[in-house]
Structures are given as structure tokens and as C-alpha cells.
């Protein structure tokens, strides 16, 4: 009986902590969303209040939509995020497979090299990256951003994926080899389907920082044509007057695509597929 009570108390404590953290994390987002639907005066009068019939206004969204470049910004963000994500997952999975499956000289050094990539923030190299991009004439192109993000995302992707790949039973690959399946087919038709949860995890971890990044778009691609949404929002923030309606509305909209992608991947996250492979 007492045991039950302590366990109940323990789990309540855990729930309280988690709930507290959730509130803390969601608060700014909720604040942005509720204020996006209010008139300018209402935002400053009572920023914490929910929109009511008096304060309800869609003016922010209208302004944001009317901005000629708004959809362009969205498109840029989408192109950069999706392309980087695809490249990171594709090359990351292939590199992880090579590093975990094949024994070759320098294998461990390569692994250490990628581990190093996780430890050192890529922003430390901003100046050199800018120099390289200038000499490659890639400044103000989306390619520059994609290249940087791929480099930024690969190390973690390789680490996580190779960890998962090592857990795939050796016999499975050997069975495939006995079946006469080529190495590429083994990778694409046996290994990749099995590490789908891991790929989804990596996708989520990789996608969010890229979508939200302000630093590299600001430095490498600040041109009108190549601005991403996070950078584009700054247009509404002026030196003397900030159009808070528009800022909050576009930030609210900016959350949506990542949210959709996250929901898509998280379904994969919770799926355990390897059950039944080997006893």
C-alpha cells in the first residue's frame, strides 16, 4: 500500500515537472499566436488576454500576405529546409552505413572527424565560410545556405544513424548477401526501411534549426530574392516603428510548416519496426 502511494507521489512529481516545462516552452508561442489575432491597440493594452469580439483582428495576416515578398520568403525557407534535409539524410545514411558496415583504413579517424563536427559549432567558421562563398560567387544564393546546412547537419546525422545501423543484426545483411542482393540494394531495401525511426529522429533534429536559423541567411543570403522567412519577418521591424501585427502574424504562419513536417515524422518516430527480425 505504502509502496503504491510513493509510486503515485513519484509519478505526480514527474508529471508536475513535465507540465511546468511544457508551460514554459509553450508560453512564448502561445503569446505570439494569441496576439497575432488582435488589433494593435489590444496587443499593448493587455498582451496576455485572449482575443475577444472587440480586440479580434486579422490585420496582421492581411498585411503579411499583402507584402509582395512574403510567399517568396516562405518558398525560400521551404526550398532550403527540404533540400538540406534530403541531402543530409541521404548522404548521412550512406556515410553511416559505410562507417558502420565496412572496415577500411582510416575508418575510426573519419568517425572522430565527424564527432568533432558535432562539438564545434559551425558558426565559429562564419568568416571563412563567407570568404569561400564570396570566391565561389555563391553569396545571395540559396545554394550557399543549403551547402552550409548540409555541412552543419551531417555529423549528427551520421552519428545517430550509424549507431542505429550497428544495432541491425549482422545475420540480416548476411541473409541478403546469400540471397544475392547487391550492396546498394541491401542499403536501400533492407537497411533504410529498418532505420526509418532513426531517420525520422534525425530529420526532426535537423529540420528545426535550419528553418529557424537567422544567422546564415543574414550573412550569406540577405538579398531581397533569397531571404528566408525568419529573415523576412525582420522587414516589419523598423528602426522607429515596428508593425507588431504583421510580425506576430508571419511568425505564427512560419511555425505551421515545421509543425506539419514534425507531425509527419513523429508518426515514424514511435514506430518500432525491428521487432520480429530476430528472436
Amino acid at each position: 500500500m505504502q509502496h503504491k502511494v510513493t509510486r503515485f507521489a513519484g509519478s505526480t512529481f514527474t508529471q508536475v515537472i513535465l507540465a511546468g516545462y511544457t508551460v514554459l516552452a509553450l508560453f512564448p508561442i502561445v503569446l505570439i499566436v494569441i496576439n497575432a489575432f488582435k488589433s494593435r491597440a489590444a496587443i499593448f493594452d493587455s498582451p496576455l488576454a485572449l482575443p475577444n469580439s472587440e480586440s479580434w483582428s486579422l490585420i496582421g495576416f492581411e498585411k503579411a500576405m499583402k507584402n509582395a515578398h512574403f510567399f517568396n520568403f516562405f518558398g525560400n525557407s521551404a526550398i532550403v529546409t527540404v533540400t538540406s534535409l534530403v541531402l543530409i539524410l541521404f548522404f548521412g545514411a550512406m556515410a553511416a552505413w559505410a562507417l558502420s558496415e565496412y572496415k577500411f583504413r582510416g575508418n575510426r579517424w573519419l568517425m572522430a572527424f565527424f564527432a568533432f563536427g558535432i562539438m564545434v559549432p559551425i558558426r565559429l567558421g562564419t568568416v571563412s565560410i563567407l570568404k569561400i562563398m564570396v570566391s565561389l560567387e555563391l553569396v545571395n544564393t540559396l545554394t550557399a545556405l543549403i551547402l552550409v546546412y548540409v555541412a552543419q547537419g551531417l555529423p549528427l546525422a551520421i552519428m545517430i544513424l550509424s549507431e542505429f545501423m550497428q544495432q541491425i543484426p549482422k545475420e540480416l545483411k548476411e541473409a541478403a548477401r546469400c540471397d544475392g542482393v547487391g550492396e546498394f540494394k541491401i542499403f536501400f531495401q533492407v537497411i533504410l526501411p529498418l532505420i526509418r525511426p532513426a531517420v525520422a529522429t534525425v530529420a526532426v533534429f535537423t529540420m528545426v534549426p535550419i528553418w529557424n536559423d537567422l544567422w546564415f541567411p543574414l550573412i550569406l543570403a540577405p538579398g531581397e530574392e533569397t531571404q528566408t522567412i525568419t529573415l523576412g519577418v525582420q522587414q516589419f521591424i523598423g528602426q522607429y516603428a515596428t508593425d507588431w501585427n504583421a510580425v506576430l502574424a508571419s511568425l505564427s504562419l512560419a511555425v505551421l510548416p515545421v509543425l506539419v513536417l514534425y507531425m509527419f515524422f513523429s508518426r515514424q518516430l514511435i514506430r518500432g519496426i525491428t521487432a520480429g527480425a530476430v528472436k
Binding site: 548476411e174 541478403a176 548477401r177 546469400c178 533492407v190 529498418l194 521487432a275 520480429g276
Partner: protein, 373 residues
């Protein structure tokens, strides 16, 4: 026709120490060969070398008189069944079996025909649309065997396929594998560490130890004429009793050995290559020792432990010389601990091994049981 021959096959991981030191073996068409030995003896490595998953360091491997050392697994015409089944978890049973065939470029109808055929042999027709995780251990094992059958290989390789099954299922699956071998007339190489599996399944058993073949032969040959001490103690349960002694008289018709306790015993082995005074080891199986029976060679001792099996019991006896032996007794008779007991054995039932563990040829092996009173 598929004939497999291993000529001086070697395996070494570092180029210096041999894991397998020159394996020679002929496998005839339709033969069921069992590789058996304690763990670490190299039997699994040998199987993997046959399959092509492990590189061959030296010697020749020929399948149908063609050297296949450097061929990939699929090109050798082998199919392997793994201990862990190794089914593709994301494919259903049908796709698991079809995968390899599709890769080989077989037509849809041909694939379907082969899978239906294999499924009906293995009685897994009703499972074809299931995923591996929805199957029981025994069913998974059948699917793994089915995946091998559909490829119509020249050679089946089984790597301890029953180890993951529970005892009852193991006996049943063992029977089914034996039946499968008969029905398909397949050539099979089967690895196990379980000597009962080896004895029941194999046409030919290859006993391995420390990277060497100790002896290859039919189950009965290994049981009746073990070539050396290792095979003698490895085959048969319980383990063969061993008694140390010195040769006191020897000749082509038999050998007399004086045991450590001073007792002498006569054994019907060809002792021409032994000399008086040589140290030897005498072996006698528990089932050849009879309690309270007037065999020619007698021992006396006390019982300190009894294992009841039902049809028989095993009596652990300490002889008056201090040696411990196991005797197979009448299972339906109560034996008290500490009870004095006399056991005897016919002279023909003894095995004798020289100092290097090599056996002297037995003159009249086998058929000892029929004379048991």
C-alpha cells in the same frame, strides 16, 4: 548432382594463427553432413566459409568440381538458414521468400509457383501475408527454411537452426528437417553443438575440435569406434567413463590393463602397437556397465548420487579405488544412496586409448545390448 569437396581449407584472421588448419572433407550428393563440436571449435567459421560470407585463407573449395573460393554467396548456389532466422522484418512472409528470387530476375509466375510449392511443403500457406513479428519462433524458422528452399540451391547450410526454439519444438522441428531432407533429397551441411541433434540428423557427422576434424563418419561409427579420446567423450551421454592404467599384457587378440587401483581388466582391442608398461586410458560407456550382472570384468563401489530418467537411472558410483564412474541402471528399481554395488562389463565393450589419446581398434564393437540379461 551436387558434390562438395573441401581440400586443405584454411582460415586465419591474422595470417599467423590458423583458426582452421587444413580441413579435408568430401560431401556427396544428397548427403546430410553435421558439423559438431564445442563452441570455438571452428564449425561455424567453416560453414561461413562454405557460404562465402567468410573469406577462405587457403586451400580449395569445390562445388560440382568447380572452384568457388572467390565467388559471392549467391553465385555458389547455396542457401543458408541462420540461427536467428534473419527474416526481413519489414516484409511479409511471401515477400521474404520472393526477395532473393526477384533479385535474381526470376519471372513473377515462376516466383509464385516456387513459393506456393515451398509453403505447402512447410505448411505455411496460411501465413504468407503475415509479418515476421506476427509469427511464433517455430513458424519463423519454417519461413527461414522456406526462403532457402525457393532458391533451389545446390547446397543447404544450416547454422544452429534449432538453438532458439524450446525443447519440445526442437524435437519436432528436428524431425521435420530430417523429413525435409528425405523429401527434397537435398545436400545439407548443418552446424550444431548438440550431439543429440548431430546423431539423429546426420548421415555423416564431422566432429571438430580446435580447428581440426577429429573424426568423420556415420553416427554409429562415431559411437562404436571413436578415433580418439575427444570423440569418445564428446559423443554419447552421459560422458564415457575414463580409467587410467598401465598395459600389463598385450597382443592382437586383446590387452590386459592394470588400473590405478591395482585391479586388472581385459579388453578386446587390437593391442599390437602397444607395449607392456605403456600408460593407457580405458573408456567404458555408462550403458555398457551392468549392475549385479555377471559380466567378465567386475568393479565394486558405492552409490553417491542417482539421476532418475524413468526408463533408466544413472548411478554415480565411487569405486573402491577412489575413481568415480557413471552406470546406467534399471530405472524402475529403487537404489539407496550409500548402497554398495557391483557392476560388470563384457571385455568387448571397453575402449582403450594410448597416451596421445588415439584409440586402439576394437575387435567386436557393437551389439552389446542384445546380450544384456
Amino acid at each position: 548432382m551436387s558434390h562438395v569437396s573441401l581440400k586443405n581449407l584454411k582460415k586465419s584472421y591474422d595470417g599467423k594463427t590458423d583458426v582452421l588448419a587444413g580441413i579435408n572433407l568430401e560431401i556427396e550428393d544428397g548427403e546430410f553432413v553435421v558439423l559438431v563440436g564445442p563452441s570455438g571449435c571452428g564449425k561455424s567459421t567453416l560453414l561461413r566459409m562454405l557460404s562465402g560470407l567468410e573469406e577462405i585463407s587457403g586451400g580449395d573449395l569445390e562445388i560440382d568440381h568447380a572452384r568457388v573460393n572467390d565467388l559471392a554467396p549467391a553465385q555458389r548456389g547455396i542457401a543458408m538458414v541462420f540461427q536467428s532466422y534473419a527474416l526481413y522484418p519489414h516484409m511479409n512472409v511471401y515477400k521474404n521468400m520472393a526477395f532473393g528470387l526477384k533479385i535474381q530476375g526470376a519471372g513473377k509466375d515462376e516466383i509464385d509457383r516456387r513459393i506456393r510449392h515451398a509453403a505447402s511443403i512447410l505448411k505455411i500457406d496460411h501465413l504468407l501475408t503475415r509479418l515476421p513479428r506476427e509469427l511464433s519462433g517455430g513458424q519463423r524458422q519454417r519461413v527461414a527454411i522456406g526462403r532457402a528452399i525457393v532458391r533451389e540451391p545446390k547446397l543447404f547450410l544450416f547454422d544452429e537452426p534449432l538453438s532458439n526454439l524450446d525443447a519440445a519444438l526442437r524435437v519436432q522441428t528436428r524431425l521435420e528437417i530430417a523429413k525435409l531432407h528425405r523429401d527434397l533429397n537435398a545436400t545439407i551441411v548443418y552446424v550444431t553443438h548438440d550431439q543429440v541433434e548431430a546423431m539423429t540428423l546426420g548421415d555423416k557427422i564431422v566432429v571438430m575440435h580446435d580447428g581440426h576434424i577429429q573424426q568423420a563418419g556415420t553416427p554409429l561409427e562415431l559411437y562404436q569406434r571413436p578415433a580418439n579420446l575427444f570423440v569418445a567423450t564428446f559423443i554419447g551421454s552421459p560422458r564415457m567413463n575414463l580409467l587410467e592404467g598401465v598395459v600389463s599384457d598385450t597382443g592382437a587378440q586383446g590387452m590386459t590393463v592394470t588400473l590405478a587401483g591395482g585391479q586388472t581388466l581385459h579388453s578386446e582391442v587390437d593391442g599390437t602397437r602397444a607395449a607392456v608398461g605403456d600408460r593407457v586410458t580405458v573408456g567404458i560407456r555408462a550403458e555398457h556397465l551392468w549392475e549385479n550382472h555377471d559380466g567378465s570384468e567386475r568393479f565394486a563401489g558405492t552409490v553417491n548420487l542417482v539421476e532418475h530418467l524413468g526408463e533408466a537411472n544413472y548411478l554415480y558410483v565411487t569405486l573402491s579405488s577412489g575413481q568415480d564412474i557413471v552406470v546406467r541402471g534399471n530405472g524402475e528399481r529403487e537404489v539407496a544412496l550409500g548402497q554398495a554395488i557391483k557392476v560388470s562389463a563384457p571385455a568387448a565393450s571397453f575402449h582403450v586409448f594410448d597416451r596421445d589419446g588415439l584409440a586402439f581398434t576394437r575387435l567386436k564393437p557393437g551389439n552389446l545390448r542384445s546380450s544384456k540379461g
